[in-house]
């Protein structure tokens, strides 16, 4: 196992290196540089432009620039932004990271959940009205023009119905008096959710180990989970942070819903296809013959096995939504990594654009890696250990 993981990590590092090189030279090959903004103001003398180039290191040959970039990269330094000179790229990305992560992980988790649940149901009831309806609606959203859809949703829910806030990720008039910066609250939210999920997972795991599920056990599990959640809320409330967290959640609803609408069909259709294969498997028939309840056959047999290929799609959809992040962020005034990338590219800010692309790349690599590990965890047949498996 460890050898496999190490090997995989090594592979990732090499891939990453090639990726960085590609990104770097791709951006270098683009016309123009940031000193061109000085060309738009005749009062700025040419000397200033030369000084700027020298200051930013643009007067050096590209290969020298690249080597120093790589050297800095492996010491954890992504360079200095040109358009926000001299703020470190790393600093800008870190500022955006919590917002991006919270939004996209929530949205992906939700769209994966919705897609998985719906796909499970429609594959189980193949050919029924719900199957056709969900497929058509899913495809319609899947291929909808995203910017337009988000504008329509904003207009409907925030502007006309006034159920949800219009845009931005926090309400300024509330946060003026906040004792913390928003990123601190984001951080605590992520931390809190992680702790709560681990606790709930532990509760469910320890109580759900047996196969005999009594009502008492289920009730206890629910009560304990609710208790943990309430405790979390209580801690937040006593710290006075709850109202700010709530504000963030409020602002997240619309983008998350939009992302979910756009993305769920991918998981749903994949789950449906995958499950249409597993429902034909003999073990599903066997499970029915065993007189297990329909829901158990569907969930523990058909859906459980169909889940495996869908996990890969979770990663890919995470990638896709990070990629499409720019649209979401622009439409919902949610300043995240996509915005940084877009604006820095428009401003010829190569270090920042490269940094953002590399960062997205690292994120995706980690996601791929996690998917591999998850796949192994979910499928007992896959063993990365290398010990021979009894067969035949």
């Amino acid at each position: 196992m460890r050898r496999y993981v190490l090997g995989r990590v090594g592979q990732l590092v090499i891939t990453l290196f090639i990726y960085i090189a590609l990104v770097y030279f791709l951006l270098q090959a683009m016309p123009g540089d940031i000193s061109m903004i000085y060309l738009q103001n005749p009062r700025i003398p040419q000397a200033a432009r030369e000084e700027l180039k020298k200051q930013l290191g643009l007067d050096q040959p590209p290969i020298v620039q690249f080597l120093s970039y790589i050297r800095n990269f492996f010491t954890g330094n992504l360079g200095v932004s040109f358009s926000q000179y001299p703020r470190p790229v790393w600093d800008i990305l870190l500022e955006r990271l919590p917002r991006t992560l919270v939004l996209f992980i929530t949205a992906n988790a939700l769209s994966f959940y919705v897609g998985f649940m719906l796909g499970r149901v429609i594959a189980w009831r193949r050919g029924a009205t719900v199957d056709h309806a969900a497929t058509v609606v899913g495809i319609a959203f899947w291929t909808a023009f995203y910017p337009l859809l988000s504008l329509i949703l904003i207009w409907l829910f925030a502007y006309t119905l006034k159920w949800l806030p219009l845009n931005q990720f926090i309400e300024p008039s509330l946060w003026v008096y906040a004792p913390w910066p928003s990123n601190t609250v984001f951080g605590y939210m992520v931390f809190g959710i992680a702790v709560i999920s681990i606790a709930v997972f532990a509760i469910l795991w320890s109580l759900g180990r047996g196969q005999r599920k009594t009502g008492r056990k289920i009730g206890l599990a629910w009560a304990l989970s609710a208790g943990v959640f309430a405790a979390g809320l209580g801690v937040a409330a006593s710290a006075g942070m709850l109202v700010y967290m709530w504000d963030i959640v409020r602002h997240m609803v619309l983008p998350v819903v939009t992302l979910t609408l756009i993305n769920f069909a991918g998981t749903m259709l994949l789950m449906r296809d995958s499950m249409l294969e597993t429902v034909e498997e003999d073990y599903v028939m066997a499970a029915r013959a065993k007189g297990l309840p329909d829901a158990v056959v569907r969930d523990r047999y058909a859906a459980r096995n169909a889940l495996l290929p869908t996990v890969t799609s979770l990663v890919l959809s995470l990638a896709a939504s990070m990629s499409g992040g720019l649209v979401t962020e622009t439409m919902f005034s949610w300043p995240g990594l996509g915005q940084v990338l877009f604006r820095s590219a428009l401003a010829n800010d190569y270090p920042l654009a490269t940094g953002a692309l590399v960062f997205t790349g690292i994120f995706l690599l980690i996601a791929h890696f996690v998917a591999d590990m998850l796949y192994a965890a979910l499928d007992p047949r896959i063993s990365y250990g290398g010990e021979p498996v009894a067969e035949g």
Binding site: D282, G291, L292, N305
Partner: protein, 334 residues
């Protein structure tokens, strides 16, 4: 005698885009407690469809045209789905065609058996269930410690044994074994069949063996039914049928397989292929392939008629009866 299973004039079709597949056509038979029935026929002749009909596990595109199935005196198809679900495996269990695939790859073998025990016996605790599985593993000859292994860690024969153990888990009164040993090599096949037979005799269960291999059936069945193209063309006591097959198809089948006991014979094959069940031939469905067919065979379907005690054949020109009569009476055909 009280019949455990009664199938009466059962007709079932599959709706497909090509048309209705007449998979089971007017099949009637019954099975007493403790008896074993062997259903034999080429693949696609409706054996498995009958098994699934008894289990009430027909796919969504099936349609029961007529007939009824009684299990322990209860009409299977008039019960509520939920009520019948609780009877499955407790009353009638099944050993699937491909045991390799009948186990869910993502759970341990043991848990898949305890699961069914816990489902059907509300009183049993998890520990009871595990003890039972250990016993069952012992019975079928799997080391107890392999309970917590995953299916992919089992060999083919062990999976087959595990599936048998699973079928025995709730001590059902009837087990349907659909091609239980087809995928195994001959030696293991034989061993497992013997063991199954032994268990059956010990527990006094009924059993339906389904196979395309008449030699397998020969070994273990009390009664043999021969199916062809959705029809039960001949049914009767095993000895009787093997000694003197009456239907030309049965005869053909017996010559098509080597005896498992190793008696050397020239193998004959039945020329032609089974008919398309969307448009089955007029009259006797076997007549296009039958050497003895007459004009009558091609027009009117031959009715089943008795040719011996409990031995009926649907043929206009059955082979002559053997000199000695049947020795055991156990099968009542309507």
């Amino acid at each position: 005698m009280d019949a455990l299973l009664k199938v009466e004039n059962f007709t079932m079709h599959y709706r497909t885009t090509a048309g209705h597949v007449k998979a089971v056509d007017d099949v009637t038979f019954s099975l007493a407690r403790g008896q074993s029935l062997g259903l034999v026929g080429e693949s696609g002749c409706g054996k498995t469809s009958i098994a699934m009909s008894i289990m009430r596990l027909l796919p969504y595109n099936s349609e029961i045209k007529s007939g009824r199935v009684f299990l322990g005196g209860q009409d299977v198809y008039s019960m509520r789905e939920e009520d019948f679900r609780k009877l499955r495996w407790k009353e009638v269990a099944m050993i699937f065609q491909a045991a390799m695939n009948a186990l869910n790859p993502v759970y341990t073998v043991g848990s898949q058996i305890t699961e069914v025990i816990l489902e059907h016996e509300p009183a049993a605790s998890e520990r009871d269930a595990r003890e039972r599985v250990a016993e069952l593993f012992c019975t079928v000859g799997i080391p107890e410690e392999r309970m917590d292994h995953y299916p992919h860690e089992y060999s083919g024969g062990m999976k087959q044994r595990a599936v048998i153990a699973m079928a025995l888990a709730c001590s059902p009164s009837l087990i349907i074994a659909d091609e239980p040993t087809t995928a195994l090599d001959v030696i293991v096949q034989d061993k497992i069949l013997r063991e199954m037979e032994e268990i059956r005799r010990k527990t006094d269960m009924s059993m339906i063996y389904i196979s395309h291999d008449i030699s397998v059936i020969a070994e273990v069945s009390d009664v043999v039914g021969v199916m062809y193209a959705g029809k039960l063309v001949e049914i009767g006591p095993a000895d009787d049928i093997f000694k003197r097959p009456r239907h030309p198809y049965t005869y053909g089948l017996m010559n098509a397989y080597p005896s498992i006991l190793g008696e050397k014979r020239d193998l004959a094959t039945i020329p032609g292929e089974p008919p398309n069940l969307v448009f089955p031939p007029e009259g006797c469905r076997f007549h296009p392939r039958c050497d003895w067919a007459t004009d009558e065979c091609g027009t009117v379907e031959p009715p089943a008629r008795y040719v011996g005690p409990n031995h009926s054949v649907a043929c206009y020109n059955p082979f002559p009866a053997p000199s000695s009569g049947g020795d055991r009476i156990g099968v009542a055909t309507a």
